[in-house]
C-alpha cells in the first residue's frame, strides 16, 4: 500500500467529503491581517465560550480595532482544555455572516414566501402585543394557547423564565425528545445519573452508534483518540457505518440499524452465563439482580439468537463480553447522546447502563463517573398564577411526558387539529424545527395553523421564513450570558463575556425579553383581570397595584438587571470577590486554579493535579473513611468498585427492575420485542442519519468557512447494492419514504452495511435568505417519519423505510 500522498490525490480521493466546492467564495483576509502587520492596531483579547455547538469550549477572541479576527482555545477550562474544533474556529464567520438577521422584520406576504419589511423593535413588539391580546382574550387567558420552543444554549433559561414563569404557558418544547432524552433518562433511572465516561483512564470502551471523532464532545474526543491502538484503551466501535471513530477502533462491528438492544442483551447473557461479571459489586450494589438474571436466561438471549437479528457473529459477541469484563471495572459501554434510533431505545440505554454496572464500572476511575459541581448563587422571581392556564396538550402521549414535552407528539396534535384546546401561536428561540423535527411537511402544516409565529434567531432559517415577526438576536460573540458551573471530574465555572457590541440592531435575549415584557405586561394583565376568577376575588381585598407587583404580574421584573450584575452576584455570593476577578480575567474559575493550572508543553495542560480530581463522589455505605476514596489514590479501582455505595436512585442501588414503569405499561426490564423491530423488506432500505465534525445540526449551514470543507451532503449506500442499482458516485438519486421525497447525490461505499441508507443531518435548507446554504444537498427530516417511542415520546430516528431510484 502506498502511503505518501499529495494534496492533488487527496482532492480526488476524498471528493465525497470535500466536494467540488470550489471557487473562491470570498476571502478571509479582510478579517485576518497577518500577511501584513498594520501599524496602530488596538488589540484586545476577550474570553468567551464557543456557541457553534452545545459543547461550550472556552475560547479567547482576538479583537483588532473592533473587529474579531481570531478565536483561539482557552486552556484554563478543563472540559475543552486547549482545543477549538473547525466550527469553533469558524465562529468569526457566524458573526460576520452577510445573511445575518439585522433588524426586526414583520411579514408582508403570505406565510412562507419570504416577504418581510424592516421594522423598529417597538413596531415588532406592538405587532406581537396586538395579536397576543386578541388571542388571549378569545382563549379566556389560557396562557398555554401559545406554545414555545428553544434550542440549547446558555441563554435558554432566560427565555424560559419569560415564557414559562412569567407569561405562563405550559407548552414548552426543546431538543430533548429529538435528541438525547432516552439516553439520559435510561442511565439516570438505572444508575442515578448520566455521568461522564472517564476516557482518560478507561481500558475498554464500547462505542455503539456514538461517533466521537465526528460528533465532537469534550473531553471525550480529546482523551479517547490519544489512547487508542495499544496506548491504553481498547476501542470497539459498533455502528452500521465505518465512521471516523471506527477507523481508530481495535474492533469494528458493522451492525444492522435498530438492533443494538439484541447485541447488548446477548453481551449480558454471556457475562451472566459464563459468570465473568463482577459478582461482588453486583451483590453489594444491585437491586433485583435475580429478576434480571432470570429474565435474561429465560428469554435465551444467546449470542446465536442475537447474531440472526444484528448480523454480528456470535463469536464476536462472546469475545467482546469476555474482554469487556476482563478489563472491568475500567470498562465502559459508552452512553452516547443523540439517541432514539428505534422504538426500544429507552430499554437499550438501560441495558447498556446495566452491562457497564455488571462490570463494576460505575462511579469509579476509568468507568462512568459523576464528578462534582461548583455552587453558584441563585436568583428568584415570582411566577404569577394563572387560573385558566391549562396543562400541556400532549401530556398523555407517552408514559412520561416531562417538562420539555414531546416535540413530535405535540406537533402532530397541532397539525392534525386534535388538541384539547386551540394552540394559536408559537415562539421559537434558537431552534429550527423545519429542519430539526422529523416529517417536515407536518411541521409546516402546524405553523400554518397558527395565528402568531414569532422567531428569535441570528439567521433567516427555514423556520424564520414561516414567522410573522422575526426578532434578531445577536450572536454569542456580542453578548454576556449567564455564568455556568460544570459538573465534572474537573469542575469549573465559565463565563461568556461580550467580545464586541451587538451589530446592526440585534440584541441579547435578556434585552429582547425585557422589551417584550414591558410591552405585554399591562395589556395582558387586563386580560387576566377580565377572565381569571381567582385574581378577581383577590382584587376584592387587595389594591390592584400592590397585587400586580407582589404576585409577579410585572413580567419584565427578572430582566431588569444587566447580565453582568447578575453574574457577579451569582459568583461572589458563593466564591467571593477574588473568584469573580479571576473569572472575568481568565474566563474560567475553580478553587485554586492559579496554583493548580500548569502548562506541561504546547500540547498538554494540567488543570487539576491528579489527586484532586473528583473520580468517585458517591457516598459509600460502609464504615470506610470515604475521603480516602474521593480522589485518585493508589488504591486498586477494582477494590473501590467493590465497596458498597449509595446511588442516586429510589433504592440507592443499581436498578434492574423498574416496577413503577410496569404500572405505565412499560417493560420493567430491558426486553427484546420482535413486534417492535422494523425489518427491511426486499428492495427497501432503512434510513439513518448522523452528525459531522464540520457542521452542527443545521445551525452552521450558512457558514462560508465550513462550507469550504463540505459543500453538500451525500447519501451513503453500500457499494455492492449501488452497483446492482446502477448507481455511481455523484449520481443524483431520489429517496422516498411514506412522508416525503428528496433528491441527493450518491456516495457508494463499502463503509456502510447493506439495506441501509445514510446521509448527514443539517443540509437542504430551502430559505432563500440563506445565500450559501440554500438548497445544498437534502434534509433528512423531510423523509424521516414522525413516530415516537412509548416512554418519553421521543421521535424514532432510524426506523424509516425508504426506496431509492436513480434519476
Amino acid at each position: 500500500m502506498k502511503v505518501e500522498i499529495s494534496r492533488r490525490r487527496f482532492l480526488q480521493g476524498s471528493v465525497a467529503l470535500s466536494v467540488a466546492g470550489g471557487s473562491a467564495l470570498g476571502t478571509t483576509n479582510i478579517l485576518a491581517d497577518s500577511k501584513e502587520k498594520p501599524k496602530n492596531t488596538l488589540v484586545k483579547k476577550v474570553p468567551t465560550i464557543c456557541e457553534m455547538c452545545v459543547n461550550k469550549c472556552a475560547a479567547i477572541a482576538t479583537v483588532k480595532n473592533g473587529i474579531v479576527t481570531k478565536l483561539d482555545p482557552n486552556p484554563y477550562f478543563p472540559k475543552s482544555r486547549n482545543m477549538l474544533c473547525a466550527r469553533g474556529a469558524a465562529g468569526v464567520h457566524a458573526l460576520y455572516d452577510p445573511d445575518r438577521l439585522k433588524y426586526p422584520l414583520i411579514r408582508t406576504g403570505q406565510r412562507g414566501d419570504g416577504q418581510y419589511k424592516r421594522a423598529t423593535w417597538d413596531e415588532a413588539f406592538e405587532y406581537i402585543k396586538e395579536k397576543m391580546v386578541k388571542i388571549l382574550d378569545e382563549e379566556k387567558d389560557n396562557r398555554s394557547c401559545i406554545g414555545y420552543c428553544a434550542g440549547e444554549g446558555l441563554a435558554e433559561h432566560t427565555y424560559k423564565t419569560f415564557m414559562a414563569d412569567k407569561f405562563g404557558s405550559s407548552n414548552f418544547l426543546n431538543h430533548s425528545t429529538i435528541c438525547l432524552q432516552t439516553a439520559v433518562s435510561g442511565y439516570t433511572l438505572t444508575i442515578g445519573g448520566y455521568g461522564q465516561a472517564d476516557l482518560e483512564n478507561a481500558k475498554y470502551v464500547i462505542m455503539a452508534g456514538a461517533n466521537r471523532a465526528e460528533a465532537i464532545l469534550t473531553p471525550d474526543t480529546m482523551d479517547l483518540f490519544k489512547r487508542t491502538r495499544g496506548r491504553g484503551a481498547k476501542l470497539v466501535v459498533v455502528d452500521p457505518r465505518f465512521t471516523n471513530t471506527a477507523m481508530h477502533a481495535d474492533t469494528f462491528v458493522g451492525i444492522k440499524p435498530g438492533t443494538d438492544l439484541a447485541f447488548v442483551l446477548a453481551l449480558t447473557y454471556v457475562a451472566i452465563v459464563d459468570q465473568v461479571y463482577n459478582r461482588n459489586y453486583v451483590a453489594k450494589n444491585f437491586v433485583d439482580f435475580d429478576k434480571y438474571k432470570k429474565h435474561i436466561l429465560d428469554s435465551e438471549y444467546t449470542p446465536e439468537w442475537a447474531e440472526k437479528i444484528t448480523g454480528v457473529s456470535a463469536d464476536v459477541i462472546c469475545k467482546i463480553a469476555h474482554d469487556f469484563m476482563a478489563a472491568a471495572p475500567q470498562a465502559i459501554y459508552y452512553q452516547g447522546r443523540r439517541s432514539t434510533w428505534a422504538k426500544n431505545d429507552f430499554q437499550l440505554r438501560r441495558a447498556m447502563a446495566l452491562f457497564t454496572a455488571l462490570g463494576g464500572g460505575i462511579d469509579v476511575k476509568g468507568g462512568i463517573v459523576f464528578g462534582h459541581k461548583l455552587a453558584l448563587g441563585e436568583h428568584t422571581t415570582t411566577a404569577p398564577m394563572y387560573a385558566n392556564a391549562k396543562p400541556r396538550i400532549e401530556k398523555n402521549a407517552a408514559a412520561i411526558i416531562g417538562a420539555t414535552g414531546s416535540w413530535v407528539a405535540w406537533r402532530n396534535m397541532v397539525a392534525e387539529g386534535k388538541t384539547p384546546y386551540p394552540i394559536r401561536g408559537m415562539f421559537v428561540y434558537k431552534q429550527n424545527p423545519m429542519l430539526s423535527v422529523p416529517d417536515t411537511a407536518r411541521t409546516k402544516k402546524m405553523f400554518e395553523k397558527m395565528d402568531l409565529v414569532v422567531v428569535i434567531d441570528t439567521m433567516p432559517s427555514d423556520t424564520a421564513m414561516l414567522a410573522d415577526v422575526i426578532l434578531p438576536e445577536c450572536t454569542y460573540l456580542e453578548r454576556e450570558d449567564p455564568v455556568q458551573a460544570y459538573a465534572s471530574i474537573e469542575p469549573a465555572i465559565i463565563i461568556r463575556e461580550k467580545v464586541i457590541e451587538p451589530m446592526y440592531e440585534s440584541k441579547p435575549v435578556n434585552d429582547i425579553m425585557r422589551g417584550l415584557a414591558e410591552k405585554l405586561s399591562k395589556p395582558l394583565w387586563e386580560i387576566t383581570k377580565k377572565h381569571d376568577e381567582d385574581v378577581q376575588s383577590e382584587l376584592e381585598t387587595t389594591p390592584e397595584d400592590e397585587f400586580y407587583e407582589e404576585n409577579g404580574f410585572n413580567l419584565a421584573e427578572p430582566f431588569m438587571h444587566p447580565q453582568e450584575e447578575t453574574n457577579k452576584h451569582m459568583v461572589v455570593s458563593k466564591h467571593g470577590e477574588e473568584a469573580w476577578n479571576i473569572l472575568r480575567e481568565k474566563g474560567v474559575y475553580y478553587p485554586n486554579m492559579l496554583t493548580y493550572f500548569k502548562k506541561i508543553n504546547n500540547n498538554t495542560y494540567e488543570c487539576y493535579p491528579k489527586d484532586k480530581k473528583y473520580y468517585s463522589v458517591l457516598k459509600l455505605e460502609e464504615a470506610f473513611d470515604a475521603t480516602a476514596f474521593l480522589h485518585d489514590t493508589c488504591v486498586n479501582p477494582a477494590d473501590i468498585a467493590d465497596l458498597k455505595r449509595s446511588f442516586n436512585t429510589p433504592n440507592k442501588k443499581v436498578e434492574c427492575y423498574l416496577g413503577s414503569m410496569e404500572a405505565k405499561g412499560i417493560d420493567a426490564m430491558p426486553k427484546w420485542r420482535e413486534e417492535d423491530h422494523v425489518k427491511v423488506p426486499a428492495g427497501k432500505f432503512k434510513f439513518i442519519s448522523g452528525r459531522h465534525a464540520q457542521f452542527t445540526q443545521n445551525a452552521t449551514q450558512n457558514n462560508i468557512m465550513l462550507l469550504e470543507l463540505m459543500r453538500e451532503n451525500y447519501a451513503w449506500i453500500n457499494d455492492k447494492e449501488a452497483e446492482k442499482l446502477g448507481i455511481k458516485f455523484g449520481d443524483l438519486i431520489e429517496i422516498t419514504s411514506s412522508v416525503g421525497k428528496i433528491r441527493i447525490k450518491a456516495y457508494p461505499t463499502a463503509k456502510i452495511v447493506t439495506e441501509t441508507l445514510f446521509f448527514i443531518h443539517g443540509f437542504g435548507a430551502k430559505s432563500e435568505a440563506l445565500t450559501f446554504a440554500h438548497r445544498n444537498g437534502a434534509s433528512d427530516n423531510e423523509i424521516i417519519e414522525g413516530t415516537i417511542e412509548p416512554v418519553f415520546g421521543c421521535s424514532v430516528m432510524h426506523d424509516t423505510l425508504v426506496s431509492v431510484r436513480k434519476v
Binding site: M1, V3, I5, S6, A24, A32, K37, L84, C85, R229
Partner: protein, 220 residues
C-alpha cells in the same frame, strides 16, 4: 533556530480544525483547493473490511527545498529558522515552485496574485509559542519546535520515538516528522513497506550537515 514539526498522525480524526484555524489565522483565500494544510486520506478494504488512514500534512519546510532553488525572482526563500516563505510582491506566478514541490504544498492565492503556502505561523510563534494548527487540534497531532534545541519538546519527543518522512526519496530533507505508531498492526497498516524508519541518532548528522550548508541562505 531550525523549525520543524512532529506529527502523531494516528491521533488525527479528520475534523479539519487545523485547516480552519490556519485559514482564520492567516487569512488564506477561501476555496477547497486553497489550503496551506490538509488531511491526506487513504481508504479501502482489506479482505472486505474497510480501513482508512489519515495523514495530516502541510509544507515540509525542506532543508534542501527545490521550490527555493527553482524560483527565478527569489520570491521563494528561506526565512529565519529555515522557514520557507514566499515574498508575494516578488512572485511573478511562473509556478515553477509549484511544479518543483514534491508535496504539492503550494497554491495560487488569487487575492494576492502570488503563490501561497504554510509559513509555520512565523508571525505568532514568538508570542503564542506555537502554530495555529497545533494550538487548536483536539487530539494534539502536532508538536512544533526547534531542532537546534536539544531540550525542546520536539527534540525530546524525537529522541524517544521512531519516525518516517513522506516521499523521502525526493531528497528534499523534509521537516515533518511522522511518528511511527507503537502499535505494530497499525504501523503495518499505515506505513508502506519501503518507507525508511529513522531514529534521531541516525538522522541528526544528515540534518545538521544540511543545516550548516543551507543556513547561509536563511534571511534574518
Amino acid at each position: 533556530m531550525n523549525y520543524a514539526m512532529a506529527l502523531d498522525y494516528q491521533n488525527c480524526i479528520n475534523c479539519k480544525a487545523c485547516e480552519v484555524a490556519c485559514k482564520e489565522e492567516n487569512g488564506v483565500q477561501l476555496g477547497a483547493d486553497k489550503q496551506r494544510i490538509w488531511i491526506g486520506v487513504v481508504e479501502g478494504t482489506i479482505f472486505g473490511k474497510p480501513f482508512a488512514n489519515l495523514y495530516p500534512s502541510q509544507c515540509n519546510h525542506c532543508l534542501d527545498a527545490p521550490c527555493v532553488s527553482v524560483c527565478p525572482t527569489n520570491a521563494s526563500h528561506f526565512a529565519d529558522g529555515g522557514i520557507v516563505k514566499v515574498d508575494a510582491h516578488k512572485c511573478i506566478l511562473c509556478k515553477g515552485c509549484m511544479e518543483a514541490c514534491p508535496y504539492d504544498a503550494r497554491f495560487v492565492d488569487d487575492t494576492m496574485v502570488a503563490v501561497d503556502k504554510c509559513t509555520f505561523c512565523d508571525h505568532r510563534i514568538g508570542e503564542e509559542g506555537t502554530t495555529a494548527c497545533q494550538a487548536t487540534c483536539p487530539t494534539k497531532v502536532r508538536m512544533f519546535g526547534d531542532l537546534d534545541d536539544e531540550n525542546s519538546d520536539l527534540v525530546k519527543l524525537l529522541k524517544t520515538k521512531r519516525f518516517f518522512f513522506q516521499k523521502e526519496y525526493t531528497n528534499t530533507l523534509p521537516k515533518l516528522f511522522y511518528i511511527l505508531p507503537d502499535d505494530e498492526a497499525y504501523a503495518k497498516q499505515s506505513v508502506s513497506h519501503n518507507t525508511i524508519i529513522h531514529t534521531w541518532a541516525d538522522i541528526k548528522p544528515l540534518y545538521d550537515e544540511a543545516r550548516t550548508r543551507r543556513s547561509k541562505e536563511w534571511r534574518k
